[in-house]
């Protein structure tokens, strides 16, 4: 009954055969796998000097938004002659992102630029990186304030919120009823944009009437049902703003199915891939976001400046990006105006 031997003590009562394991075959298999491993690794030559390496870490790899950022970053790195490594976790998990960052720390790159999945969880490892003498930038999503040397932000929340309201007002002729479908009520960035939309309406469009704000928790199906309900509850509704990437296509779908395309204006913040169909068939005239490709390019440009020991200055002109806004007090660099996708330009963007 001694079954606790080290190794496999289990034979589950089956008849045992006496044929010994063939060690030859195992060894051959071991060697084959090892050789395969080495070959795969050998395809990726190591940079000789990591001090000139820029590492760009997204929240997760393999989604169109971050792929677009990667492409922009690679173009910029090529122009500058910089070595760029783009790597990150395969799912949006703060713990996994920190593990990837831990490994990158040991490589001691020149600049580490991170889009933080969870600011709280990523901040300790970024602080450690700075103690090791690595330049730390954040992009797309910031760590806790004061952690990164610079935060490369997509767009100024005030400008974005006001811009979306302006777009809707232009389509509705500056008067009429409209509703807003937002994402989660707890999402701080969405709430900030929402606040600026409301303020823009109050200040500039007194004849426009915001009838209600509903939250769809970034669930496209729920947003679709809510949009249908809005259309029924307010037959004279003139417009819907989708304040999350799932809400805009859902609102467009509901308006199209109700046969109200052209009567009810739909706009908001969403990606070209999600909105292409509705923009092309005319249900939606304009949808707004920013260009993640420019975000990646700007991050690499700022990384190059930081490595050279320069300080970014307000209004500096970045090749391929344009003039950018630098807020020295909050160590933030803003890419510029929001980007509108219309029938004319949506074909150029894929994310």
């Amino acid at each position: 009954m001694r079954c606790q031997r080290w190794g496999m003590g289990n034979s589950r009562g089956r008849g045992t055969e006496t044929s010994a394991v063939c060690p030859g075959a195992s060894s051959v298999a071991v060697v084959l796998v090892l050789v395969a491993c080495l070959l795969v690794c050998a395809c990726h030559r190591l940079p000789r000097n990591s001090a000139h390496l820029v590492v760009l870490v997204p929240k997760l790899v393999g989604i169109p938004y971050f792929n677009a950022a990667r492409d922009g970053a690679q173009q910029a790195a090529q122009q500058l002659g910089l070595q760029l490594l783009y790597t990150g976790p395969t799912s949006a998990d703060a713990g996994l992102q920190v593990e990837v960052l831990d490994g990158l720390l040991a490589r001691h790159p020149g600049v580490l630029a991170v889009s933080c999945d969870d600011p709280n969880a990523v901040t300790p490892v970024l602080r450690r990186a700075r103690r090791y003498g690595i330049h730390v930038l954040t992009w797309d999503s910031n760590a806790q304030p004061g952690t990164a040397e610079w935060f490369v932000n997509q767009v100024d929340p005030e400008r974005l919120g006001r811009h979306v309201m302006d777009v809707l007002a232009a389509e509705m002729g500056g008067k009429g009823k409209f509703a807003i479908i937002t994402g989660a009520l707890t999402a701080s960035n969405l709430n900030e944009w929402l606040g600026w939309m409301k303020r823009e309406r109050a200040e500039r469009f007194p004849q426009m009437d915001l009838v209600t704000v509903v939250a769809a928790n970034d669930d496209q199906q729920l947003a679709f049902v809510q949009a249908q309900q809005l259309l029924q509850a307010y037959p004279d509704l003139g417009g819907i703003i989708g304040n999350s990437s799932a809400a805009v296509p859902a609102a467009a779908q509901a308006v199209e199915q109700a046969g109200k395309a052209g009567q009810v204006a739909v706009t908001g913040l969403s990606t070209p891939d999600l909105m292409r169909r509705y923009v092309m068939d005319g249900t939606v005239k304009t949808v707004t976001l920013w260009d993640p490709g420019k975000l990646g390019a700007l991050t690499v440009q700022v990384a190059a400046q930081v490595m050279r020991g320069e300080t970014p200055t307000d209004g500096m002109n970045i090749p391929g990006v344009g003039p950018v806004q630098v807020i020295a007090a909050s160590h933030t660099i803003i890419i510029g105006p929001p980007l509108d996708f219309t029938q004319a330009n949506i074909g150029q963007y894929h994310f």
Binding site: N10, A20, V30, D93, G95, V98, V100, N120
Partner: protein
């Protein structure tokens, strides 16, 4: 019932360990950053967390069971620790809260599986969703960051250069090894895994043994959540979710048969180390994460295939 006659065999942990050593040698040759103290100090911290879960999982799997709720228990313990921190409990209070909640969750599993005799996979599937949902509800899905510095220093503390969290992991591993190998409790667990029917009809206290093993797993999850909170300086309901599959894979890679009946604790330590060292080495070599995932999965399949080949010499599988 169990054959103990001598057969030539190559224990799976040794094979995996040898592969790991070769891999380390190769990465060390390719990258000057691999054999640095800083790299290993960073590397062993997440490894210790997953290792604790895997040690508990080794015992659970040895009984022929499984615990799918570990990720949710870690999340709930971390959220409970955050709650304690918000109510100005000291580091000790926070630690006790996390361990208490972890152990309590484990005891729930143990009660349902051991005492009521329900199926482990169904019970822990249910509690995985339940504990996970509870953690999200209590925390409202938000991340909490206000832990006292005394707790956060746990991740920086070291003893002659070896991180304390790693020492905790090794101490627990030795304890689990001794318990599985020499204690009566360990023997009951293995018998349950080998033949649940025979175990039920024997005089062995199977119910309380099973209750104990799931409670211990819960405690280890609580401890892992504490280490995670210290390392990430924050708590979130979903923070342990990635550890479930890593822990199971580490146990299997180490040579514990997935059907139960045996436990190899040193194998689990080697299996978990393999995952983290290979991941770290590939990151240092600049291998894309998608390729890393595929390579690590390939390693797991290879080890399982090898184990099958080794075992087929002994059992007509």
């Amino acid at each position: 019932m169990t054959g103990t006659r001598h057969r030539p065999e190559l224990p799976q942990p040794l094979v995996v360990g040898a592969l790991l050593a070769l891999f380390c040698a190769y990465v060390g040759w390719r990258s000057g950053d691999f054999w640095t103290a800083a790299n290993w100090q960073l590397l062993v911290q997440p490894m210790a967390e997953a290792g604790l879960v895997a040690l508990g999982m080794t015992l659970v799997i040895a009984t022929g069971g499984i615990d799918l709720s570990v990720g949710s228990i870690i999340g709930l313990s971390a959220v409970a620790a955050a709650w304690a921190a918000q109510h100005h409990a000291g580091a000790t209070g926070i630690a006790l809260t996390a361990l208490l909640i972890g152990g309590g969750c484990g005891a729930c599993n143990g009660l349902l599986i051991g005492v009521l005799g329900l199926s482990p996979i169904l019970v822990t599937l249910g509690t995985m969703i339940f504990f996970g949902g509870l953690a999200v509800t209590v925390s409202a899905g938000a991340s909490f960051a206000g832990f006292p510095d005394t707790l956060l220093h746990l991740s920086d503390a070291d003893w002659v250069g070896v991180p304390v969290v790693f020492l905790i992991f090794i101490l627990v591993a030795v304890g689990v090894y001794l318990a599985a190998r020499y204690s009566l409790w360990g023997r009951y667990l293995l018998h349950q895994g080998q033949s649940p029917v025979a175990a039920r009809f024997s005089a062995m206290p199977i119910r309380s043994s099973l209750f104990g093993v799931y409670t211990v797993q819960g405690l280890f999850c609580g401890l892992a959540s504490l280490l995670m909170v210290a390392r990430l300086a924050s708590a979130r309901a979903d923070m342990g979710q990635a550890l479930l599959l890593t822990a199971i894979a580490g146990v299997v890679l180490g040579g514990t048969p997935v059907m139960g009946g045996a436990a190899t604790v040193p194998g689990t330590v080697i299996g978990i180390a393999t995952f983290y060292v290979v991941g770290n080495g590939l990151t240092l070599l600049g291998v894309p994460t998608f390729v890393q995932t595929a390579l690590v999965a390939g390693l797991l399949l290879f080890a399982v295939g090898l184990a099958n080949q080794l075992r087929s010499g002994r059992t007509a599988a």
